[in-house]
Symmetry: C2
């Protein structure tokens, strides 16, 4: 999912990584995924195909690398004035983003990657799961009354059903249902 040896920021490695990602993204706008090859990306990015094979392994890893960047949150969770409001807003926005064709494809790309991505905390969980958990933990840390709320419960009862239904093409959860799931996670722990 990421090159084996981490690139130095701004170094040649990092420039290659950025160029390859940008080319993959650009090609995806005009071609079916199945029609894109490593040599096509290499030509567009101005690198050799063997550079890509050496650093990513195969084309699925290139797509996964692009996708993980799309799944990375670009801002802390929105502040709404309450614990319940923050969790509901984040969950509903997560549902909306992941339900798009881009979001679905990104989730599947990440799962298609064999890479056991090391999360920033050194654990082996997938980075996109780590991204979710980090956003949830930021919200829980904002509110003293959240001390009784277990981040794992939010993952199991809110994130998991959102993602499971998207991946397996079940009826997606409604925004109302997402807010009910948040209420249920908070209900026994927090009086609101």
């Amino acid at each position: 999912m990421t090159p084996t040896a981490g690139p130095r920021p701004g170094g040649r490695s990092a420039r290659i990584q950025q160029a390859v990602r940008a080319s993959a993204r650009a090609l995806l706008e005009w071609h079916e995924r199945a029609d894109i090859t490593v040599p096509m990306i290499a030509t567009d990015a101005g690198v050799t195909p063997s550079t890509i094979y050496r650093r990513w392994g195969d084309i699925n890893e290139v797509f996964a690398d692009v996708s993980i960047e799309q799944l990375r949150p670009d801002a802390p969770p929105r502040e709404t004035g309450s614990l319940r409001g923050d969790l509901t807003a984040w969950s509903q926005e997560y549902l909306e983003e992941m339900s798009t064709s881009v979001g679905r494809a990104a989730l599947r790309d990440v799962l298609m990657s064999d890479d056991q991505a090391l999360a920033p905390d050194g654990t082996k969980k997938f980075k996109c799961a780590f991204f979710c958990r980090t956003q949830i933990d930021v919200i829980l840390a904002r509110w003293p009354e959240a001390s009784a709320v277990d981040g794992d419960s939010v993952v199991d009862h809110v994130v998991a059903p959102i993602v499971y239904r998207i991946l397996f093409d079940l009826e997606p959860l409604s925004l109302l249902r997402v807010s009910e799931l948040v209420d249920q996670v908070l209900a026994p722990k927090v009086s609101v």
Copy 2:
């Protein structure tokens, strides 16, 4: 995931399908998945590669087809003498099966398949999600007190966290935690 035109049972189509599945399974016992090609399967199964390309599309679809057979339940859910017992036993066995390397690979194969598998009821949900739902519905139909229990809730609060954690390499749920999740789904609806 399945050939575009459904094979007549027992006909030539069905025999080809069985032979290709059997060869793919056999090759998987001796080779890394990435080393197996359509021509290898074709040779082993005694068909032409073009037969496989025409009927399955690509190698990922062949693997998905094999995996969906592994995910298909081979018996109705075990009877334990109570609604809670039946749901707990099924959920714990599902966790155990899906947590194996075979189960994980099968789930990922199915997701890697582009095929929008038509479930037996004509909807587009993935067959493995349909299998789960069917087993849950069989259990709920056994017990009059389950009339207040929504099958969707069991999917969202029991199946989804089991699968999400497996797919994203989070700490798997414990058997105890699975039984707690079942208790929580039943708690507001069923006095036990």
